[in-house]
């Protein structure tokens, strides 16, 4: 009996082993050259495609899809067919991390675009970094993602060589808003609210520091839970604080009802926020009371750049159901940066290296030195992986639409 059971076990083990091996083998086959000799390069995409932030997520996905289609149409890289694989992170760090693991496991993936949220980006960095799989985010604005946890004290250390982003960070976005409000709007008294998330708290922090430095006064601060929708008590406090404006470090699903309730409680001053308030959804959720509210966003408004006009035309021609929103241009540029890196590696070595790990590592290195004029302006990366394009704009809601009121480059005050 004993003998037989041992025998059974070992046979099973061998059989399972053989099956696993053959499974691996077959996957490698499909991963290699297929069809007419074109190599398939999959670009992974991670963004919130469902949930509150899906409007921004869909814009990112569609724009990346457009970049992939343009690259294939122009035959941008000889012998390479690009493909987009989109995953939904629902704005949650855990899901983002699972998606990162999934993308690393897929041997055809050579680069990742996304995510939208800084806290999701934080959770994906390590997984992708370990595999040397390059990640270019169109929308992560939290400074510590490229400059390390101690960036505020000037001790900047890059954590991951494989992480890049095409948007400017909160350490310029917050101060840029502060300078505009203090110098040009002559607002002196601020009420600050954040939602304790990586993005919101970071933005509120950099804004507060600069506003105080300029001589402004903070008449109150508060923190809210991002999932709450009833803010009546906080709203009463803010409305009676005598502030000139309220700065909200949060995203539009939370910020829109919060701001609406502050105005309902009697406030006549505007709400100001970061790029996550620069969405048509903010105005839609907020009804008529959003008039006069302001939001900063990274880059110049798309309709002022020639490269952007072509993007807008192509986007329209593709007939996507949802608009490209705040990050569409950045998502296009992020995808294009990966395409360019693949091109550089392929041209240098006559096609991509057969070894996936080697190819990924080379592509990640190549992204560091890409340079092209993209939808959002000149795209290139500094030694931290941040964009060298530090343009920002302030938008104000006028007549139910965000209108650019100032575009400039941030300078230390």
């Amino acid at each position: 009996m004993r003998h037989r059971s041992l025998f059974t076990i070992s046979t099973t083990a061998v059989a399972v082993g053989a099956l696993t091996l053959s499974a691996c083998g077959s996957r490698d086959d499909s991963g290699g050259d297929s069809g007419g000799g074109d190599k398939t390069v999959v670009i992974g995409l991670d963004a919130p495609l469902s949930g509150d932030l899906s409007a921004l997520g869909a814009g990112i996905k569609n724009s990346a899809d457009l970049a992939v289609k343009v690259a294939n149409k122009n035959n941008e890289v000889d012998g390479v067919k690009f493909k987009l694989e989109s995953l939904d992170d629902q704005g949650q760090a855990g899901t983002g991390q699972q998606n990162a693991t999934k993308l690393v496991g897929n041997q055809e993936v050579y680069g990742v675009v996304g995510p939208l949220n800084s806290h999701v980006g934080e959770s994906m960095q390590k997984v992708l970094g370990n595999a040397n799989l390059v990640q270019v985010s169109p929308a992560n604005t939290a400074p510590q993602l490229t400059q390390g946890a101690k960036w505020q004290s000037g001790d900047k250390v890059r954590g991951f060589d494989s992480y890049f982003r095409t948007c400017a960070t909160d350490d310029v976005q917050g101060p840029f808003a502060a300078q505009y409000l203090y110098n040009e709007k002559k607002f002196k008294k601020a009420y600050i609210i954040d939602d304790k998330k990586t993005y919101g708290a970071g933005l509120a922090g950099t804004f507060t520091t600069e506003f105080k430095k300029l001589g402004g006064k903070i008449v109150g601060t508060d923190h809210v839970n991002p999932d709450d929708r009833d803010f009546s008590a906080v709203a009463t406090k803010v409305a009676k604080s005598g502030a000139d404006f309220v700065y909200i470090g949060s995203e539009y699903p939370t910020a829109a009802p919060l701001s609406a309730q502050i105005k309902k409680a009697g406030a006549t001053f505007p709400t100001v926020g970061g790029d996550a308030l620069y969405s048509a959804e903010y105005i839609k959720l907020h009804k008529k009371k959003s008039e006069g509210d302001m939001a900063t966003s990274v880059g110049a408004p798309l309709n002022t750049l020639d490269t952007a006009k072509e993007f807008m035309k192509n986007y329209k021609a593709q007939g996507y159901k949802l608009p490209y929103e705040a990050y569409g241009g950045y998502a296009y540029d992020s995808t294009w940066a990966i395409v360019q890196a693949v091109k550089a590696v392929a041209e240098e070595g006559d096609g991509l290296p057969d070894d996936v790990d080697e190819a990924r590592e080379k592509i990640a290195k190549a992204v560091q030195s890409v340079k092209f004029s993209g939808v959002t302006g000149e795209v290139a990366f500094d030694k931290f992986g941040d964009t060298t394009n530090k343009q920002l704009s302030v938008y104000e809601v006028k007549g139910g639409d965000h209108k650019a009121v100032k575009t400039g480059t941030f300078g230390e005050s």
Binding site: S54, T236, L285, K287
Partner: protein, 309 residues
Amino acid sequence: MNDLPDQLANGLALGALYGLIAIGYTMVYGIVQLINFAHGEIFMIGGFGALTAWLWLPAGTSLTLALPLMILLGVVCAVLVGVGAERFAYRPLRGGPRLSPLITAIGLSLALQQAIWAFYPDAKKARPFPQFEGGDFDLGFVSIAREDLFIYVAALVCMLTLGLFVSKTRTGRAMQATSQDPDTAKLMGVNTDRIIVMAFAIGAAFAAVAAIAQGFKTGEVQFRMGFIAGLKAFTAAVLGGIGNIYGAMVGGLVLGVGEAMAIAYIGNVPGMEQFGGGSWKDVWAFALLILVLLIRPQGILGERVTDRA
């Protein structure tokens, strides 16, 4: 402290809303000893029902005219789902182990939430809810928002009707009897199945009214709105003494006012600055719950019953 009346008004509105939802928990618990965790989702479906009615009406209809229809459709949707849940999810498990219906309730809650997420048009993000036109009613010392007025009136009307119904009508008394002893009630000729359905239906109807109130208050309905609201209402029901309908309302009001006060004033206490504000209100709400349960384990208006847990 000049904003105390306003903060009290905020707290009372929030509390009345919690109380309206809590009645659903407390009635069902009082009669079948089941904590219906899907109640938060029934609340959410009431909100979507009302939104559907609003979208059906031609654009530009005055909200005051639309309101009765919105309430009607919201209540009908919520009651259908509530009664359906009782009939198909809970009744087959009645008499089984206590944990089975509880787990079914959690499963049902997830299923309903995802059903709205998947099938209601554009519900993957928050849907804007109509708003009252016009400003607040200024009474001099306090200003009352129009949507808060709706909550006050709705809660008052609902409570009075329910109180009269339970104490004066034949069905209401049958309900009390079933709650005290279902077996004996059955022997006395009470159709307990019908009574249980009634409890679910009334709870669902009140939840739908609360959902409309919350829609007005926050300007949106979304598929996840039932989770936090349900949790808070359940807390309110326990705080007030689960099984007691007046307790549910009292618990709701205490919780709502407590939250508003915590947001407004805890930060002003020297040394407590970092514990004030919107992000700590839940901590204070649950601290209040623990405190009340330490002194009165049966809740504010609850009766001491030995065999219930």
